[in-house]
Amino acid sequence: MKKKRIAGIVAIISIALTFSMLSVSQEFPIFSSTETPEIETPEFLWTYRLIDMIAQAFVMFAAAACCVTVLRVEKKE
């Protein structure tokens, strides 16, 4: 078991390092296709925070409904 665990950790560190090095070697074309990023969308969202808060509220309501469904008590008749 010990050997397997050490082998696993070594494998994952080497894979993570490989992918990271690959990503560092290729230049990332950041914002290469536009000169300035668009500003209207985030400006609107940050001015009227209520809108994105309502979107989050709906997803949270769905998550709460899911938790209630999984944890509901089934009465024995």
Partner: protein, 104 residues
């Protein structure tokens, strides 16, 4: 300013670690944490990109996306942990390999 490629390397390393966690770990709670690590890799990416456009200016779109996405990640974790809690309370095990009763 730290160059962008270090942030990218970090987020890709996080993504790999998250995938490893999902593939190898047996404990249900560790699988849920693996999902969290995956999502946080993407969050790191968003914030890194939004900070590197110009020096000293942060593009607000990245931040607004991350704020909403943290909420959704929390919701997924909540539902996942609910199922794990229910499974533990009724069946006494947290081991995913013991769940392999469906096959074929």
């Amino acid at each position: 300013m730290i160059p962008l490629s270090y942030y990218l390397a970090c987020s890709i390393a996080l993504y790999t670690i998250g995938m490893y966690c999902l593939a190898i770990k047996r404990n249900m709670i560790r699988l849920v944490l693996g999902i969290e690590i995956l999502i946080n890799a993407a969050h790191l990416n968003f914030i890194a990109f939004s900070a590197h456009l110009n020096q000293g200016y942060i593009d607000p779109l990245g931040s607004s996306i991350v704020i909403m996405s943290i909420v959704f990640a929390g919701c997924v974790t909540a539902v996942a942990l609910t199922i794990v809690t229910y499974a533990y309370k009724h069946y006494g095990t947290l081991d995913v390999r013991k769940l392999r009763r469906l096959k074929g």
